[in-house]
Subunit: 214 residues, 4 copies
């Protein structure tokens, strides 16, 4: 029985709710033949979030880890390609820290690529009628920080797949942010289910264009 | 017992489905104390659509008419403020017509304002957790054409409220249009319910900012 | 000798400069065979702006009037199609007024269409290498207010062409508004020259698509 | 006398012109006390572009290299933060190649950070009235390919500063792409001058926020 670890953040940036946490908590305990999901919340705090992530990986020995984060303003489920080794925070985190141009892991590699089959996941999401795309940047705030911390933590562990998926605002959030897109909770939950099934079923990624000219 | 007429278009622009028709058909026959909904499909054809609309108004004597249309790419339920007396089609309609700079009603007024309480509807939608905004333009294609035709048809009839609401792509459509926002069918349906209740309950519109600097 | 009246607003919304005024002042006194430009500044104040516009028309008897306004965030020279009879201000004007859903001219028509050859102007601008498009809405703030007031003032006067062109931020403004597009002053000035020549040379508008599906 | 190497690409994606090449060619031979610019064109071809870049570095021993590329649709001078080790081409290059998910340098690091003082450059550009921002992704096409190839080529060379700046369409290009932003050639040229002066004058980067939440 494989363990699938899903993480979602606590609310941040004055939002009362975080769609990432709402999504992953709904999947806690869910499973199909051969795997079961454990969902955990992460603090939206530089440093603490990665300490929590590392502890979860040590505790749970997951075969698959998908960290999920809110990307307010994005229109779809965006499967991140790469985490970069820098914090450059445009807003404060939940501990009132605003790190600027600080490496996440001193001496660590400049970046880690997701080991999820990102193209296969995007294709499966679209086939399921769910808007999705590959994203070339996870930003430089706590989402990228955790994505990088996650990849660093599993870098030495054979056979662990890991990556990050950004999700839009919930409709109730977008109702307070005119002009911002949203997605229903049901679709976000179904999207993460599709991503898990695809990641567990894929030995190698699909060959499909997912890049950007700039 | 008041009749509420909802209209939605057949699919257009190579889409296999039209969220407007899916939304209004789901509400056909729905009602609460004092009103009942009749939902009808309109052709996405200049001229024919307005002939159908005028016939429906003659047949049904509705107290409230809301025409609903797809606005692929928009992020929310957008309640239109004004219909203008011109067709200028960037694409062909379903009868392969592409009218350019032709008045909808020769000699008609340059524009009609919606007689829905548009500010009250936007406020009610947001209060219900549904992303919504006032829109200052319904475009110049068949949606604006029907909006204008509707307002022209009810212009002489006392006590009939009428207007137009644009809705986003469904998720299954946005899955084929990377970069486009979407909204779930359930939320669109709930949104039109909220709009109907608000329109029937409001004697005058709320005073609330809904404009744009440009 | 025909008089061409250009108007531009004083700065508003905390900007130290207004590209519309910078553009039209640079053209004051400019002319070619048969016409000469008079450029005047308008206050960014509901009511006062239209009183000033009406006085200018009475004083100058222009054959052509182009009101120019800043549209911060837009990417190109946008030639407005229609002015609507409502003020709905998302921000305060320069006299600290914030009118909401007030008609510009009580009892006036719901809208006026530009009498500029808007399609011909857009085509000429693009042919000159200047980004341009038709816009279906001039908003509901002082720009639309003046556009409506202008069209109302010339409505009874034979042979006067009039309309409104929105222009982007200047680069120095966009440098303070990350994410906003801009255009150089030289190109804005050249764009208005092209618009004037095209308006004076066109007996009727070009037939060209300039509409929007929504 | 230091050599500053500027590179710009030949036109691609059916454009007749490339603003990057127009910008850098205008600066060929320009200099101030202590430095002189050499501008060279690169083919928009995977592989060939990096071979050309490596040869230029061997030939010229530049103290500073700024590769410049067109980012059609972007609004400002965007100073890239990071190059990633993957080609994933949404369109074909000029040799009709469309590489998908191929490493640029097999066995190379996942990413290289720019060694330009990117925050100081953005601050200097804005102070000069030029719209600018830090960009978190250079895409996955030939621009990112060359950015990565450049950083890889100079990785072992002490004291060489290098990086990549994306620039918008020229106005004449945007005139054919309605909805796209643009910038005048004069401002692009001035922007690269400012970037060169700032890069040569800065021993370390400024501490300033330039990140993104996602």
């Amino acid at each position: 029985m494989k363990t699938v670890l899903l993480t979602g953040f606590e609310p941040f940036n004055k939002e009362p709710i975080n769609p990432a946490w709402e999504t992953v908590r709904a999947l806690d305990g869910w499973g199909e033949v051969g795997f079961r999901v454990v969902a955990r919340q992460l603090p939206c705090v530089f440093g603490d979030a990665n300490a929590a992530m590392a502890a979860l990986i040590d505790e749970l020995h997951p075969a698959l880890v998908i960290a999920v984060g809110q990307a307010g303003g994005r229109v779809d489920l965006s499967v991140e390609r790469v985490a970069i080794n820098v914090d450059d925070a445009p807003i404060k985190d939940n501990a009132e820290q605003q790190l600027v141009d600080v490496p996440i892991v001193r001496g660590g590699p400049a970046a880690y690529f997701s080991t999820l089959p990102i193209k296969a996941i995007v294709a499966a999401l679209r086939a399921a009628g769910l808007p999705a795309s590959v994203s070339q940047t996870a930003g430089t705030f706590v989402c990228n920080h955790v994505f990088y911390g996650l990849m660093h933590a599993v870098a030495g562990r054979d056979g662990v797949k890991a990556g990050f998926i950004h999700i839009p605002y919930l409709p109730e959030q977008a109702a307070r942010h005119p002009g911002a897109a949203s997605m229903s909770l049901e679709q976000m939950i179904e999207g993460i289910r599709v991503a898990i099934r695809t990641a567990l079923a894929s030995d190698r990624d699909a060959v499909a264009v997912g890049g950007a000219t700039h």
